[in-house]
């Protein structure tokens, strides 16, 4: 295809949008609704993963040293945790005194009952451990239990299992929803564009008779579909941006942004949503249009 023929196709693509305004509006609306649904899934999935990650990083693993444990044994555990950056995100050694003070703080007004408590005799050194991924818990616990001087390693096993499974569910659910929505929107848009193409079936047949290639005939429709998809994507992104920003403001009004159940702000999601919407919108529009023309170019 020559450059001139190519530019003609692009011009025709733009003209096609204005030629059937009602079909164009219907197509934009259909893709827009699908992209809005996709955006909701993407946001839900991103927030779910963010919360899982935060929850997974809370210290579900608590290591208790023996009361008679030595400094060398504690150093060995510390060195192991500091060296395993692949699995261990963060750890903190708490002395008996620090543990004592934390208990007192937790007791609040009743803390005076611990005033004469000899913490050095009853409270051990402890490690608070945060993992990169809750799935590593079993392996890390197994290693830690093997160290001399370690009394016991406690983990919220059920929580860890749930977190691991929930993260997988969210990922699979998002992928499945994404594929299903993509296929549905492709089907709907392909039928929508077919109405427009049907009204131009004679035109397409004439083009074939006078020597237009399939690519030459298809290109304006593909460009038209891509433009419709892009417009829908920008609209979907805009609506999502405004809606989520308001929801975020309401939900996060009384929540500390640093807490583990805080949501992701729109600024972190904005570019991703725009990219997903633009990619899917253009692909759905262009592919849906290209497929619709197929039937009429077999002349």
């Amino acid at each position: 295809m020559s450059i001139r023929a190519f530019t003609n196709s692009i011009r025709e693509g733009f003209q096609g949008i204005l030629r059937h305004p009602l079909v164009t509006i219907a197509s934009i609306t259909t893709i827009l609704l699908m992209l809005l649904l996709m955006s909701v899934f993407v946001i839900f999935s991103a927030d779910a993963r963010y919360i899982m990650k935060n929850v997974g990083q809370q210290p579900p693993i608590e290591l208790y040293m023996k009361l008679d444990g030595t400094e060398a044994e504690r150093t060995a555990v510390s060195n192991y945790l500091a060296g395993d950056t692949q699995q261990v995100l963060y750890f903190k050694l708490a002395s008996p005194e620090e543990n004592y003070n934390e208990f007192k703080t937790n007791l609040g007004d009743s803390s005076s009952i611990l005033d004469n408590f000899d913490y050095n005799q009853y409270l051990p050194y402890t490690f608070h451990i945060q993992l990169v991924n809750p799935a590593y818990a079993d392996e890390v616990v197994m290693h830690l239990e093997a160290f001399p001087g370690v009394n016991k390693v406690m983990q919220e096993r059920q929580v860890m299992v749930f977190l691991t499974q929930a993260t997988q569910w969210v990922n699979v659910g998002t992928a499945v929803a994404f594929c299903v929505l993509f296929m549905i929107s492709l089907f709907i848009i392909s039928n929508m564009v077919r109405i427009s193409v049907y009204s131009r079936a004679t035109e397409i047949t004439i083009m074939k008779y006078i020597g237009a290639t399939n690519a030459y005939i298809r290109l304006p429709y593909i460009i038209e579909g891509a433009i419709v998809g892009l417009v829908s994507a920008v609209c979907a992104w805009g609506i999502t941006y405004i809606a989520y920003s308001r929801i975020f403001k309401i939900l996060m009004a009384k929540i500390d942004p640093g807490s583990f159940y805080a949501l992701l702000p729109m600024s972190s999601l904005s570019n991703g949503i725009l990219l997903v919407c633009a990619f899917c919108g253009i692909l759905i529009g262009a592919f849906g249009s290209g497929v619709s023309v197929r039937k009429y170019i077999q002349v």
């Binding site: 295809m1 020559s2 450059i3 001139r4 023929a5 003609n8 030629r19 004679t202 035109e203 047949t205 004439i206 083009m207 074939k208 008779y209 006078i210 020597g211 237009a212 290639t213 399939n214 030459y216 002349v299």
Partner: protein, 238 residues
């Protein structure tokens, strides 16, 4: 040069449209293909434009076996063959200039040359003053002249016309035929499928008659029913 070598065509419905058709058309000839409805004459046109493929046999245009031509090459063939139809087949959303220019645009003709070419072909068909009109604003005869102009844009060596006067009154039909004859005089091969006995009789060109998918007559300077100078007994035989 067009050559049909023992061509058979059976449609998927089981209809035998052509049964062993063989003929040759030299460059610059003017040929009428006549026959009753369903005799197979439109199938001959469709085989020449690769709209259909023969079930058996070969079709050649300028020594290229178009019957075995690869799909991607079909548009290239069609750009070198001007096609004219009974129902004109103009794009209603484009004006006359755009309809004609479109045939040049698809081959990537430069804009300046395209404007000049369209202007020339519009002059040839006598519609220069209708360039900005739309097809529905023109009479049937004018629309057919636009179709002829479109067929001429890429300077084809061959023009195929399927019932070009089928929707036109006798006077307009005469004008269209005169135009095609003029194009033929300039060296373009013209093949016309028609029912119009008056025109065929008047023009005295080569006539190929098809009946039930077979050629029953191929006469030079002939008429619709029989060669003008053929012996009476031969005509009766036909």
């Amino acid at each position: 040069m067009i050559r049909f070598d023992n061509v058979y065509k059976t449609y998927k419905t089981g209809t035998d449209a052509l049964r062993g058709v063989s003929f040759k058309v030299e460059d610059g000839e003017f040929v009428f293909i006549i026959g009753k409805s369903g005799s197979g004459k439109s199938t001959i046109i469709k085989l020449m434009t690769c709209e259909e493929r023969p079930t058996q046999g070969s079709v050649y245009i300028d020594h290229f076996a178009v019957s075995r031509m690869a799909r991607p090459l079909v548009p290239v063939l069609r750009r070198h063959v001007g096609m004219i139809f009974q129902d004109f087949r103009l794009i209603e959303s484009k004006n006359i200039f755009e309809n004609i220019a479109f045939a040049g645009e698809i081959v990537g003709m430069p804009r300046k040359k395209l404007v000049q070419t369209v202007d020339i072909v519009l002059s040839v068909v006598g519609l220069r003053n209708k360039a900005s009109a739309f097809p529905q604003e023109l009479s049937g005869g004018e629309q057919q002249r636009v179709a002829i102009a479109r067929a001429m844009v890429n300077d084809p060596k061959l023009i195929l016309a399927d019932e070009p006067t089928g929707n036109l009154d006798p006077l307009t039909s005469e004008a269209i035929m005169a135009l095609l004859e003029e194009i033929n005089r300039n060296g373009t091969t013209v093949v016309i499928c028609t029912h119009d006995s008056n025109l065929v009789d008047r023009m005295k060109k080569r006539v190929i008659e098809i009946a039930d998918g077979s050629i029953v007559r191929d006469d030079m300077d002939s008429g619709y029913t029989c060669a003008i100078d053929a012996p009476q007994e031969q005509c009766e035989e036909i």
